[in-house]
Structure formats: C-alpha cells, structure tokens
Symmetry: C2
Subunit: 329 residues, 2 copies
C-alpha cells in the first residue's frame, strides 16, 4: 500500500493539471484566483453542491459524479445565457477514500473541461467524517445587462423547452430497480441521461434577444415552470402531450399516465425552460436546427395566480398530479 498523498500531494497530482489552462488560477500556487472580466461583459456565478447518498449513489462511477456536478452548474450558466469560463471546486472527502476514486473524479472533470471549454480556477479540499460532499462554483460571461432572468415571462408568451424531459426521472426509477423497461438500449439511454445530463451551453447564450424568462429544469418540469411563471407574476398552461420525450422515455412510459406524470415532475432534466413570444417561433426553429437540439413549444403563460400551472392532457382535460416536482434539498 502506498502512502496517502495528503492535501498538497493531491492538489499537485490531481488538481494542478486541471488548472493549467486558466492563467487566473495562478497554478493553484496562491491564496486565490485572479481574473478580469472584459469590458461590456458581466460575470455570472452559480453554485451547486452534491452529497453522496442524497444526490448520487455512493458507488456511482467517480467520473460520472464529476460529470453530473459539472453539468448541473453548466446548465445554470446556460439558463442565464452565459458562456462557461472557469470554476472552483470544494471537496470534502472521507479520510479512507481510495486515491483511485479521486483519480477517476479528476479524469471526469478533465473530460468535461475539454468538452465544455471550462477550467479549474481554485478551490479547497477538506476531510470529513461524513459522506463525500462536493460543490462547484461556476463562472460564466454574459453581455452586460443581458443575462436571462427567471422573471422575464409575460402573459401570452409561449413556453419552450430544449431536448427531452423525463429521461433522468425514469433513469432513477431504473437505478432503484422500480421500473422495467423493454430493452437494454432504453435502459442505457435513461441511465446515461441521469448520470451525464446534457447542459445546453450552446443554446443558452443564443437565447439572449429571443427568450423572455429562462431557467433550467432541475426540480421537475411542472415545479420549475411554476417557479418561472411565479417570478414572472403570471400563471402557466402546460400541454403534457406536447412535452418532448426521447424514444427511450416514450418506450418506458408506454402509455402509462403515472409514468408520464413522473416524467414531467421528476428532477434532474437539466434542459432549458424559457418563454418567448409566438413571433419568435421561426428564429427558435432555426436555432434548434443550427444546434442540433430540439426546441419544443409546450404551453403558454396567461394572467392568473402567479406560479399556478395547469397541466392539460391530450384531450385538454386537466391532468391530476400528486406532486409538482422533486425537492433536492
């Protein structure tokens, strides 16, 4: 058995390489990171934390955990219209944790750094007597004054969502052994979407000038639409039938309304939810084609009790839901 590396050894081996591409990280040799923000731009700052046993399974692959942590933050940046710049990382790890875990975790971070054009700027590593606890604070850049607010929706606006909804919630059911799906391919897709969501980093910045209100879907589509229209001071109507589903999700739902309800209220989609006037449809279709990601109209905002979401099924009768979303807390 080799001697554990200790804090400085771990930083040197696993984290300094991740900071090599960002001069503001100062090689992780200083007390802090230092970087400028170009004129005409603002910094967007978001933080997401994850705890083993609460937000992921303790035996999930460390590279998957890294990807989920990174991507949930990138999704928040995208929801603001920001382009990724850098991130800081806090790890609280049990003393006995095998170094190969950290190696896999760092490899996952490195892979996503290259994929999404972001680099490590700094952080802190501490030990804990509890479960693995991780947080990332991500920085992005946005044209000054143009960040997309949650509260920018207006009555009459249409509601749109990127990609597909419900994959992660169905994937979680599979992970728990509570859902049988027709084939291995379906299962693999839903689990992949649970573990490695697809933050819409390309679409987000291009929604500036098109979208009114925007946020990312992490607590469940219905709950998050409630947040968006609540902050916008109006109500929303959601057509369940219009909600975009992947082929895998459609196969897993198999016409079962309980599973459909799960898909539209389950968490961890990390898709973008936004409003825009009906006149923006053509531009959004062009953007969708350009980015190769679906953008689907799923409802509209209307005057009414702020935050109230009516969910209609195919026959346009209200769909009863036992919950609106998932509380990560």
């Amino acid at each position: 058995m080799t001697k554990p590396l200790g804090e400085f050894g771990r930083i040197s081996r696993f984290f300094k390489p991740l900071a090599a591409g960002f001069p503001g990280a100062r090689g992780l040799r200083d007390d802090a990171a230092v970087f400028g923000v170009p004129e005409g731009r603002e910094l967007v700052v978001t933080t997401d934390a994850m705890v083993a046993g609460v937000h992921f399974f303790p035996d999930d692959a460390p590279a998957d955990i890294a990807a989920k942590l990174m991507r949930s933050n990138l999704s928040d940046l995208a929801a603001m219209g920001a382009e990724p710049l850098a991130y800081t990382l806090v790890t609280a790890l049990p003393r006995g944790l095998d170094e190969s875990w950290l190696e896999g975790f760092a490899a996952g971070l490195g892979e996503d750094q290259r994929r999404f054009g972001i680099a490590l700027a700094g952080g802190d590593s501490v030990s804990t007597t509890g479960p693995v606890t991780l947080s990332v604070t991500a920085f992005g850049l946005v044209p000054a004054g143009r960040a997309l607010p949650r509260w920018g929706g207006r009555p009459g606006d249409r509601v749109f969502v990127t990609g597909s909804i419900g994959d992660a919630a169905l994937g979680l059911e599979i992970a728990y052994g509570r859902l049988d799906v027709p084939d291995e391919e379906t299962s693999a897709h839903l689990l992949r979407r649970l573990r490695r969501p697809d933050p819409r980093t390309t679409i987000g910045p291009r929604l500036i000038g098109l979208a009114g209100g925007a946020m990312d879907v992490s607590d469940g589509l219905v709950a998050d639409l409630g947040h968006l229209c609540g902050e916008s001071g109006c109500a929303a109507l959601l057509r369940a039938e219009a909600v975009p589903l992947s082929d895998a999700a459609r196969g897993a739902i198999d016409g079962d309304p309980v599973r459909l309800a799960l898909a539209i209220t389950g968490g961890d989609d990390y898709e973008l939810l936004f409003t825009a006037p009906a006149a923006a449809r053509d531009d959004l279709a062009a953007l969708s084609a350009d980015c190769g990601v679906a953008i689907t109209e799923i409802g509209e905002l209307h005057p009414g009790t702020p935050g109230e979401v009516s969910v209609l099924d195919a026959a346009t009768t209200p769909l009863p839901l036992t919950r609106r979303g998932w509380d990560h807390f």
Copy 2:
C-alpha cells in the same frame, strides 16, 4: 413544534435578507448571480470549507462558526490585496438540525457582512447524512495586475507579519482542556481569537506597492513562511524572539519553549505574512500606525534551498521544532 421551513422557506427567511444589499444577487430569485468588474480591476476568488468535528466543534455557537468561515475567506482576500465584494455560501446540513442553529448562523453572517462590507451573492443549500459542512467562495476586487503573489519574495527581503501569532493555537489547547492559563481574561482573549479571527482587510489592499510576496497565516507561521519562500525560490530565517505575541499569549506561554513552538507552528492565525525590502520599514510603520494593527519584522529571505525555514531563538541558535505547521486537511 413548528413545521420545518424546507429549502425555499429557509432561503427566504435566512438568506434573502443577507443578499438584499448586493444587486448582483438578483434577490436570490434567479439561477445565478450576475455582476460586473470595474475597468482596471480584477476579481479575486477564494474558497474555504469547514466541517463540524474537523474544523470546529459541533457545539460551537453558530454565529462563531459563521464568523470563522467568513473571516478565513476574508483573510485570503486580504492576502491578495483585494477589497471584499461579495460571497456565495454552500450549506450541507443534517435534516434534523434545529432551525435556531440556522438563525444564529445567519445572524453571525449578517454581523460580519456589516463589519467587513461584503454581501451574499448566492449559493446552494443541501441536506447531508453527515456533519454540518459549510463553504464560502469570496469575491474581492484588486487593481488589475497588482494582486499580491505568494512568490514575490526576493533574497534580502525582510519578512513581516501583522497582529499577533499563536493566539488561536493556544486557544485551541484551552478548548481541549490541555492548557491552564493564569486568568480568565487570558483565556477569553485566546478563545476569542480562535473563534473570531481578525482578517486584515484594511491592511491587505494597502500592501500593494509595498509588499513583494504575501499570504495569510492559516497553517502555522513556520509552515506558511516555508510556502512563501518555497514559491519565491529561496530560504528564510525566522527569529522566534521577534514573533509578535499578544499579552495573553505571552502569559500562556510563560517562558515555556514547547508552548512557544506551539504558537509559531499552530494554525488559524489569519494574520498576513509578507516580504518587503528593508527600505519599506518606514512606510510599513506608518501603515501600522494608521490602521492600528502591529506590523512586525520577524526575519528575512536568503538564497538557499527553496522553502527551507531556519528558526533562531533569542541566542540565535536554531530552535528545534517537531513540526512546522498544522494540516487542516
């Protein structure tokens, strides 16, 4: 018993008021914070995490825990020469934690926000099955290109330190019941310095143009001087006799060389350690008088093995130390 507030209730009650003074927080209503950096300035970003039972006692007063968390981060900003701007907060709290804990914690944050001119910009709140785990990412501003680096020391530079050294290490011994001190006043001072360090936020920015290399003392004076001179590519000589001690620390040490060694190797001082040419002495004396905080010359840098620190006692014979510092990790 009242119903627990849940994540949104807690944010609304405890955290939104802390973000009220910082427009970039967007009232904690959005996915992220958004703020600009003035032209000619750079952003300084630092992160410090703390875990109950590792970095503080689980039954410490929550306002003290808040103060220590905030001040350890402010100390890092000061060490870079940066003025405080804002911070984000991540809390991972056990589900059963009493809401009065959070109330005390938020009150402590609020008090330090007013004292140090900083405000909450955002964050995340999650639950954990482990101990209370907290982290702050602090943001400060510094004139572009002028942040104080650790590696700015040169052979011949004198070494200076602010305030007094060893209070927190001696306070920790008292907290553990391992050290008897002559009177209650001594004990109170050392414990206060352990729990509520004094980040040198006023002096830090004014060291720009005076100091060469700078960092804050958190791992122990000898260890941190080793880091500073190691990054500066030279060795250091430290005169133990010259290290500034509070009256309380002097009383607790009471001539015992083991306790003196503890004072200069123990952690959590949160003083500034920096180098400057001898010619800067007058300017530093004026700065010290102006800020009402001691600045004391304690040694010098010289060519030699990078990172090697020789500690001399009053008779200028080497003082043997069993350790250089404290590993928070």
